[in-house]
């Protein structure tokens, strides 16, 4: 009904999306969580009086209290402090990993979708190969062989997630190519580069951008999993996954050790998922099936 009524028409695509997002509770919650996360990552050190790594054997395994709101771990370190310092790692890993995914995935997707033929065959076979190996299996293999450390986690998780972007972008480019405006651009004499950058790219970006937020969530989950398995950030780095792994043996002595880092991961991931979900719905309710 009334698919293009002028009232609706008066909004630009982006404005409409923003308006829809403002009324979406999930989007508000997501935005709130992300803002808090960025705030803690930037200014968290000024909030907490403790050092994240200093061991204090007088205060081992203390339950949550006023001075240690989330308790202390087996080395007497304040868990709240470590979680606050962990925000930086979560954001750093999430953004860096998605950066790799975005650059690699989007350019391969554009190439495959636009040129087709052999270029497409080669790229998509490569994606098939990558899709044949379960992501954690591959990430575990890569991280395991590269050795631990944040940097290697980023490489390992970065190496596996781009395939989703390639598929997504390629599908979008193929649908863009069926849009008459792309042929219309050729009809007025546009070259390949202009068509890709000016006409196709903007068309494909809406779902990709929404997916990016979901991608950050996934990247944080995977990297925490790697750290948890002992192939990522190494103790005493206050990375959430590593904290969990570290405190796992003490969980019968103190439920708080394993619980709160997990809550931190969950809330962060939930925030990015909320935001990405809302963004995706706002930009195009139909993209869900294309991924």
């Amino acid at each position: 009904m009334s698919k293009s009524s002028p009232r609706k028409r008066a909004e630009t695509h982006l404005k409409g999306a923003l308006r829809r997002m403002q009324t979406d509770k999930g989007a508000l919650a997501g935005t709130g969580i992300i803002v808090i996360l960025i705030f803690l990552a930037a200014l968290g050190r000024f909030i907490t009086p403790y050092d994240p790594n200093e061991q204090n054997y007088d205060e081992m395994l203390l339950p949550p209290s006023l001075s240690h709101p989330l308790g202390t771990d087996q080395y007497g370190r304040d868990i709240a402090t470590r979680i606050i310092y962990g925000c930086r790692y979560a954001l750093l890993i999430g953004v860096a990993v998605v950066g790799i995914h975005f650059v690699v995935g989007v350019s391969l997707g554009l190439l495959a979708g636009y040129y087709g033929g052999y270029v497409e065959t080669i790229i998509m076979r490569l994606v098939d190969v990558m899709l044949a190996i379960p992501s954690v299996v591959l990430a575990v293999a890569i991280a395991g062989f590269l050795g631990g450390g944040i940097q290697n986690v980023i490489i390992a998780v970065g190496a596996i997630g781009w395939r989703a972007y390639t598929r997504l972008v390629r599908a979008e480019v193929l649908s863009a190519k069926e849009q008459v405006f792309v042929e219309a651009a050729r009809a007025i004499g546009c070259g390949d580069l202009r068509i890709i950058l000016r006409h196709i790219m903007p068309y494909t970006m809406a779902p990709v951008i929404a997916y990016t937020s979901l991608g950050i969530a996934t990247a944080i989950l995977w990297s925490a999993a790697l750290s948890f398995l002992g192939m990522g950030a190494q103790p005493p780095t206050p990375e959430w996954g590593a904290m969990l792994a570290d405190g796992r043996e003490y969980m019968q002595d103190g439920w708080w050790i394993a619980t709160f880092p997990g809550v931190a991961i969950m809330v962060t991931v939930l925030g990015f998922n909320f935001f990405g979900d809302a963004l995706r719905n706002a930009l195009d309710p139909k993209t869900e099936k294309r991924i």
């Binding site: 028409r9 008459v180 405006f181 042929e183 219309a184 009809a187 007025i188 004499g189 546009c190």
Partner: protein, 339 residues
């Protein structure tokens, strides 16, 4: 240059699409979308290319502009008073780019032929930018002038396509097509998606612009009433071939090909007293992958004889400027609609 000189000549143009099958994706067959069409187009003429869906009219239009690579044949474009025409089918990319200034296209669906992410101003002036014509401010002025010429306001420049109705979008598309001052415009079902009252507005506009800018049109459509209204000459296509071409009124009054006859008789007439028994064709259009032998139309033709089943009819000039591709053309007494 006289008004009657040739602008475009199409010689035996073909476009076949391969159908891939199997592991090695070898071509298992061909869709003969356009299978050898020849036409001449004079300057200032409006040529209608009509036929039902799948007859190849749209593919023909795109092959003429070389938005699709033709499989065979020649498209000769006589521009800039040169004695030697440009062969569009073989011209190098540079020449093609230059040629885009002379040949433009308007599409059927104004929803998808305009880039949603660009403002109307930049859509209309993009051709100038691509061909590096004028300074930015000139281009903007030109775009504004064009928008006014097609009946829109100058202050629509900063808006986006989705803020306009279907008819207005089609006006924007027309402004873009006019931007490079082309000599030839191919209108591919340009008014088919529009509501009746809006369609009439756009048809009138196209007619006005033709006089104003001295344009030549190829009007691709399935709507015979529109064709009769706007064209001087018509070519009727069936399964990738032209079965008949003639001056518009000639064709509508005295079709010489059984398909044209049936096609015209099938069009509903907005007049309750016009009662006529229609010629009902049997069955559907056959697949262009495996068209019937002989005359493509023979399985549905009520006059078909043995020769039609076995021999492909030649496309011949029956009388001056009147071409038919039917074995029986001069023997049949087809329905005359001239009363």
């Amino acid at each position: 240059m006289t008004e009657n000189s040739i602008l475009l000549e199409i010689r035996n143009l073909k476009k076949h699409f391969p159908i891939y099958k199997g592991i090695f994706r070898s071509a298992a067959g061909w869709v003969k979308a356009v299978d050898g069409i020849s036409l001449k187009l004079k300057k200032g003429e409006v040529l209608g290319l009509v036929g039902e869906s799948g007859c190849g009219k749209t593919t023909a239009g795109r092959s003429i502009l070389r938005l699709l690579e033709p499989t065979a044949g020649e498209v000769l474009f006589y521009s800039h008073g040169q004695a030697e025409p440009i062969n569009v089918t073989t011209a190098p990319p540079k020449v093609i780019k230059k040629l885009r200034q002379d040949m433009q296209i308007i599409y059927q669906d104004p929803q998808s032929s305009l880039n949603e992410r660009m403002t109307v101003g930049s859509i209309v002036s993009e051709p100038l930018l691509v061909h590096k014509i004028g300074a930015p401010s000139d281009r903007e002025q030109e775009a504004e002038k064009l928008l006014k010429a097609v009946g829109l306001e100058g202050d629509h420049m900063a808006r986006y396509p989705h803020q306009f109705s279907g008819g207005q979008r089609q006006r924007i598309a027309i402004a873009r097509a006019l931007c490079l001052k082309p000599k030839l415009i191919i209108a591919d079902e340009a008014v088919s998606a529009l509501d009746v009252s809006i369609q009439a507005q756009v048809l009138l506009l196209l007619k006005e612009l033709q006089n104003e800018f001295n344009l030549t049109y190829i009007f691709i459509t399935h709507d015979l009433a529109v064709v009769r209204y706007i064209t001087n000459r018509v070519a009727v296509m069936y399964l990738g071939r032209i079965v008949e071409s003639a001056a518009t009124e000639e064709l509508f009054n005295n079709p010489q090909h059984p398909y044209s006859e049936a096609l015209i008789s099938a069009v509903p007439v907005p007049d309750p007293d016009y009662r006529v028994r229609r010629i009902l064709l049997q069955g559907d259009v056959p697949s262009p992958i495996d068209p019937p032998p002989g005359c493509h139309f023979h399985p549905r033709c009520r006059y078909a004889e043995d020769i039609c089943r076995n021999e492909t009819p030649t496309y011949r000039e029956l009388s001056p400027d009147r071409f038919v591709s039917c074995h029986l053309a001069d023997k049949l007494n087809l329905w005359s609609f001239s009363k």
